[in-house]
Symmetry: C2
Subunit: 361 residues, 2 copies
């Protein structure tokens, strides 16, 4: 079992990572006998995991209700979130309830935001079931739902009381979703930790084969890296922006292709290649390092080029709508070495366009 702490003063919380946690009543601390909780999950996960998690909670003496939402990014909306409130108010659940998010990033983001808002804030526990949510979305306290005019535009910074990662979940996760999570894993290596990047080069096959030991270490290291960044910059004023490597380009792909056709991690993977090429064209990242990034991304089963149908010009309007745009100026996260990166403003649009063209599918 791996356990780390996200350090945020009074709002610090543990992340527990192991195989078999769903069979273990003690996993869901700080819930205790007599507590009331609402499990939020979706129609795909409920038949596989709901009863197991409920059973463990009921063994602890927790009174558990449940709400099962439709599955998909298109349901990460205010109106679907209202179903959670309806379920809570129908029972009813008071201010002392705990929401449990059992699912990937969609369920985690929506449930976390619901917890932030219900009666102005109740406790919540993240139980991430995709690799992406285990290494990324469940750590850091960003919660949100989408608006028809923009992703994650409505939300809150709200920290969970704990994060419970049962790596056995990954056995039922579709391969494409696993790869999508690996994109974020590789991202941590590129932006923050060159040694971890080397470790990934050496252990990627074990991760793809869901080797327990390698996977637990990998998730722990990613959570540690993200937790450090979040502790240093909870509200995303500075260093936290580095976590967006590849995302500004990737969001353009997601927006243009329609959310869901390209998975988030796939778009980020292609976006990281575009960022690497941008950095290379600026003379701050070597040809050899671009090749190492490309090789690792490809080995993970992820795209190293953008969609064939998108011209470089079609990226820019989306990129200019990014939250990181300040005073009309594009700000990009760019690597300066494997394991090191920076936020750069004022990169000439021609260089960005050329780098995107380098990665045209």
């Amino acid at each position: 079992m791996e356990r780390i702490t996200v350090t945020l003063g009074e709002r610090s919380y543990p992340i527990t990572i192991a195989s078999g946690l769903f069979e273990e009543p003690a996993s869901f601390l700080p819930l205790k006998a007599g507590d009331q909780a609402m499990l939020v999950t979706n129609e795909t996960l409920a038949p596989i995991y709901l009863e197991r998690v409920k059973h463990a909670l009921e063994q602890t003496g927790v009174r558990v209700d449940q709400v099962i939402l439709p599955d998909g990014e298109q349901y990460k909306t205010l109106s679907v979130m209202e179903q959670v409130f309806t379920a809570l108010l129908q029972k009813p659940h008071g201010r002392d309830t705990t929401l449990i998010a059992l699912g990937g990033g969609v369920i985690g983001d929506l449930t976390g935001f619901a917890a932030a808002c219900y009666q102005r804030g109740v406790r919540f526990i993240q139980v991430p079931t995709t690799l992406l949510s285990q290494v990324d979305s469940s750590v850091g306290g960003k919660t949100a739902v989408n608006h028809p005019l923009g992703k994650n535009m409505i939300g809150a910074f709200y920290q969970p009381a704990s994060v419970v990662v049962d790596i056995d979940c990954l056995k039922t996760l579709p391969a494409r979703e696993l790869a999508s999570g690996l994109a974020e894993v590789i991202k941590y290596g590129i932006i923050l930790d060159g040694e971890f990047f080397v470790w990934l080069e050496e252990h990627l096959d074990e991760l793809l084969a869901l080797d327990n030991k390698a996977m637990a270490y990998c998730i722990r290291r990613c959570c540690e890296l993200k937790a450090e960044v979040v502790a240093a910059d909870e509200k995303e004023q500075g260093v936290r922006a580095l976590l967006n490597l590849g995302h500004t380009y990737g969001h353009a792909i997601e927006a243009e292709m329609g959310y869901g056709n390209w998975l988030h991690g796939e778009a980020v993977a292609a976006g990281m290649m575009m960022a690497a090429e941008t950095a290379r064209r600026l003379g701050q990242f070597s040809e050899a390092d671009v090749a190492r990034v490309r090789t690792l991304i490809a080995r993970a089963g992820l795209p190293v080029t953008g969609p064939k149908s998108m011209t470089p010009e079609s990226y820019l309007p989306h990129m200019m709508r990014d939250k990181k745009v300040l005073a009309g100026e594009l700000r990009l996260v760019l690597p300066t070495a494997i394991g090191q990166s920076e936020v750069r403003s004022g990169v000439a649009h021609e260089i960005v366009l050329a780098a995107i063209a380098d990665c045209r599918g």
Copy 2:
């Protein structure tokens, strides 16, 4: 001009109270030339005040957009709030925008909550236009929308950057709404400040006649009292609960009669009488003090009895659904003297029923 500060560390903010503030470009600090802002108001207020406020802002060099919502408590919902997000995203407004709530508590609560959520939090300014919102809802950072199953069930603690109270607004406010605000004014006297209660006994007629000097002092004193309580207990763990005097009973009236038929302050006024009678029956509040409370409430044009159609028994289920209920036990705010009050648990239901019967219309 009266000015006070709500002291909350980095999130401290000023409340400015005067006549003629809407004609004064400097009123809307911290907005400055070049800033972007979104005015949120309703269909009743827009024709009277929108152009004046816009003009003052535009004179300062602020770029102002507007969104005009339907008027009424029934529109304080997540889906109406989504219209604010749509307006923000259509322009678009970035993270550096400022929302301005121009209206009563409905607009203030909804706009404040929208500001808390938009891109995970943008600045907002309260411009309260009802007496109730000037003395109560605009101070303290509670924001919320309603759910069909409960009022204010979805929200956030979120502080404004400033509160701008132009008392001239009250001239266009319907008399019933003015009286409703006076219920909250009287509440402060009962729970926290016996001298202010005496001042109200002496100056109520001036307030009803909208005398500028008396009104500015009255609003300032209420804001001061609320600000002190909020500073001591931002998240409503302790002393802040006292502000709910009369509200547990009052919510039952509002819920049973249908929101909007009894105004909030009217229900609170009857509820304060019920709290006073409960305290009297517990031997902690004198007959003479009950009479002083009744006289002041009646002089303000407010009800001293509940609706004829409601039996005492019909209050309890609503009261048990109150947010202050802990572990199934009713907790009531009760006066112990004029100017002093406490939260009490475990009051026998028979006493509560008898006190409600004392106030049957």
